[in-house]
Symmetry: C2
Subunit: 196 residues, 2 copies
Amino acid sequence: MTDPSPKPTRAQQRRRTEENILAAARRMFADLGYDRTTIRAVARDAGVDPGLVMHYFGSKDELFARAASLPTDELPAGSAEQLADALLASLAGRLDSEPVGSLAVLRSMLTNADAAERYRAAGEPQLSRISAAIPAADADLRAGLLSAIVHGVIIERYLLRLGRLADASPEQIIDLLRPCFQLLATPPPPDPHRPE
Amino acid sequence: MTDPSPKPTRAQQRRRTEENILAAARRMFADLGYDRTTIRAVARDAGVDPGLVMHYFGSKDELFARAASLPTDELPAGSAEQLADALLASLAGRLDSEPVGSLAVLRSMLTNADAAERYRAAGEPQLSRISAAIPAADADLRAGLLSAIVHGVIIERYLLRLGRLADASPEQIIDLLRPCFQLLATPPPPDPHRPE
DNA sequence: GCGTTGATTCAACGACCGTAGAACGAAGGG
DNA sequence: CCCTTCGTTCTACGGTCGTTGAATCAACGC
């Protein structure tokens, strides 16, 4: 039989430890933010020497860049309503599987300019996608508000842990948010004559 | 004539420097967050010696406590609709006069447990006030969402500076948000028989 | 087998931080 | 006028941080 774990080859072991370090880093960046996360603590958490972290990742900044690279959800093309629903679905996904990666960026970006830039770069295209789909003059603003709501919910639930948002079911939250999203995504039909 | 500024008395000078320090601290805590704000930098910004900051405020924590003490807006009693409007008005106020004080807490609370506790303590009573006024079984959750939206807008506008939210007029934002707030504050009338 | 590579550790440097306490010097009360 | 008060500065300590470079030692190619 091919015993899978008698002696990990050197390359395997290397990748394994590197992954351990990255996992520990993600955890700490999400919990503590960039500044309070120390390379020494990450190394201790991963069971290795601080020097090794430097050897693999070069610097704390690069470690953060590697740890906080998050796959951006792909938004499908479609009408504004469909886009709003997709946005809600994406939020739901981030709500029931606590997104350690994006928490790391969110928590860190408020004190780390690099994290802020990274997040802005990742978020802007989605923002303009949404904005483009909204048939209104203030589409940009509406898209910004949708984004603000998503961030507000995530921050309130995972970072501030305020009120009942922390332990509500994602479905409940989504259900309450859906009408708001529809309202923001689809402005009242642009009839040229005033209705009253 | 009573010349107001030939020789400031000692007490006056003392209070003036103390106020300078507090102003510098508020600015830095809001811009950089708790960790990146150093007593040395605050002192430099205020034009005094770091030791003086310690002498006046005792510790960095107490300096933060003094700098970040924010007057919580009083929410008037009333129906859920009125409360939602009051909440919107409060948000509008915080939107057009950039609230350095509350930014300091908001930015710091994500990495400083003390700031988080302070903010939670200040926010909880308002939350339950709102919750109590909403006639629905999920009032707590609805209140939490209202709070999340407020925070999301402020964070997106001042901290993340994402999209068009950063330079939109408060009135525009409020107008778009009002229907959402009404929707969340006043659930569909509880008619016992299903409408369809 | 043997020299080499590479994963990993160790010890140390310089910088910066919060904080403490002594020292100075002018304002204020008697 | 002198002595006290107190606003203010200076110097220094201990600690932690990111980062570095040499040292160690097992895995690997030939």
